[in-house]
């Protein structure tokens, strides 16, 4: 019988895939910085009631517009207070909940819609592809902010409405990317082999195609999370997103804008935090793509 083992094979006794993955994750600076920041913000958001020094809704007109410590304020309110005397740090901490919740849930909803459409279009092709491509084009022709503004104007601004509107509007990139990735993977011979073996279509999609396109999905998820967070901030800034007195970073920028000339930190602090969160999410997405790409496996 054929037992001509490759002599080279005898030497392959490397680390296990798990060890390799760990090594790649910890060796990737972008992923460590981005992932660390996101993890920190998630912990802060979850532990908001414990971490916040004050009630984010408690007003105190005597203590209004106090500057943060680094501009000569007191440690009583480390980041100062807003125009109603509410503690700015506490509002920032509670605002992380709103931003993260909107980012995660909106990206989840649109991810489900877009991935289902994109994979179906890429895998089945033909009429299905035509319909999905048409829907993507229709969706791309609609300006997100205008549609969101109109819907919020009709149904009223609330956290739920903003999440649902964004979730139903941001699936286009998922659909485009997943369609292209599926098209690329479905032509590979291992898909043909799976069909020749007798695998059912759902099995082929779930076990042969999805694992090979999921790294692209991760990148889009992070992009769209960041996108949704920025859109919520924009909608709240325009007064049509999350309604006062709910603490939201966009709303905080909006409320601070009248005092921007004399108390610029009212706008700068939530702006910087928003920027850091979006940057961290994007760094994390890029890093995840790098460490999960199969071509990096060696």
């Amino acid at each position: 019988m054929a037992t001509t083992t490759d002599p080279l094979l005898e030497e392959i006794q490397g680390p296990t895939p798990g060890q390799l993955l760990r090594r790649r994750v910890f060796g990737h600076h972008g992923l460590m910085i981005g992932g660390g920041l996101v993890a920190l913000l998630v912990v802060v958001a979850i532990l908001a009631p414990v971490l916040a020094p004050h009630d984010p809704y408690a007003q105190s007109l005597l203590e209004r517009l106090q500057p943060p410590v680094f501009l000569g304020g007191s440690w009583e309110h480390p980041l100062g207070t807003d125009h109603l005397g509410r503690d700015y740090l506490s509002r920032l901490i509670y605002g992380a909940r709103v931003s993260l919740m909107i980012g995660v849930i909106a990206a989840l909803i649109s991810g489900l819609i877009g991935t289902a459409m994109g994979v179906a279009a890429g895998y089945f092709g033909g009429r299905v592809d035509m319909v999905v491509t048409f829907l993507i084009n229709v969706r791309l022709a609609m300006p997100v902010v205008l549609v969101a503004l109109a819907v919020v104007a009709i149904f009223g601004g609330s956290l739920q409405v903003v999440i649902i509107v964004l979730g139903l509007l941001l699936w286009d990139r998922f659909a485009v990317v997943m369609r292209a990735s599926t098209l690329q993977v479905r032509g590979r011979e291992y898909v043909a082999a799976a069909r020749a073996i007798g695998c059912s279509t759902p099995r082929i999609v779930l076990t042969e195609i999805m694992p090979n396109i999921v790294n692209n999905l991760i990148v889009v998820v992070t992009l769209e999370m960041a996108h949704a967070i920025l859109l919520e901030a924009a909608l709240s800034f325009l007064g049509l997103g999350v309604q006062p007195p709910t603490p939201s970073w966009g709303l905080m920028v909006s409320e601070g804008k009248q005092m921007m000339l004399f108390e610029p930190w009212l706008v700068m602090i939530p702006g910087i935090v928003l920027f850091l969160l979006v940057l961290a999410i994007n760094l994390m997405g890029d890093g995840l793509r790098d460490v999960t790409a199969p071509e990096n496996r060696s």
Partner: protein
Amino acid sequence: MSDATTPVLELRNVSKVYTIRQGLFAERKSLRAIDDVSLKVERGGVLGLVGESGCGKSTLAKILLGLETPTTGEVLIDGEPVGAQDRRKLARRIQPIFQDPYSSLNPRKSIADIISLPLRVHGIGDAASQDKAVREILDIVGLPARVMNSYPSQMSGGQRQRVAIARALIMKPEIVICDEPTSALDVSVQSQILNLLGELRREFGLTYLFISHNLAVVEHLATRVAVMYLGRIVEEASVAGLFDHARHPYSQALLESVLTPDPALGVPDTQLGAAYPNPIAPPSGCHFHPRCPKALPQCSSVAPRPLTTADGRIECHLFDEEKAEPATA
């Protein structure tokens, strides 16, 4: 249903026509990828299928695997039409080995997962017996059991092709479609894989349809050869018959085109010219006539009939009134 004389694999007048449209408002055109192909493969035999790129070899393989349905004609396995069997049933009798081992193994799955997939899909045995079957087949294809937890990217091309062979053979199929199984491999590895395929055929009594453009490989492994040109089988003969005295001008040209190791001989002149015809608008009459060095006047207008020869079939006007008898179709 099956006896010794029934060919294990038979194609009867199989055609595959693709309708294509170049541009949104262009009219639809049809592309005959496979044109009226009839073939028989005896049990335990190896049919080599040779031809240029784009002549329809791989489409034929897809039809046999049930990945494409023929437009007309039928495929019979053991005398049973394939249309009557569903894909899962077909999968247990006929399995593929693909050309590119870098694309035929899912990079996200371990070797054990890849090889045991057919068993899991068909619900054969429990986890322990599947594990045992994988170990056995790894031994048979010459890989150590240790590679079970490896991933395809950790292996060389030859090792990957061994994995692909193991996956094809784990359900003990009767027929294996080898679609250029060595063309993506290094020359030194090619012979190992070919020898392995030969040993496995003897061991398990397999029947191969061996698709290749490498004539040396076909001569080494096949028992019969079919030469394909633009979707038609232009000549079919035993290996000895074809390689000793090829009759069809295209077969002769293919044999002459084999490169020799001696560079002083230069690139052989096949007299074919460089242009492969456009399969959307094939030449009239005999499809081969624009490139044929021995074309007769009627070749450009009349398509040649299939003729039976002493040891196969041929489609060429050169032999029509001479030695061959018209086929009784």
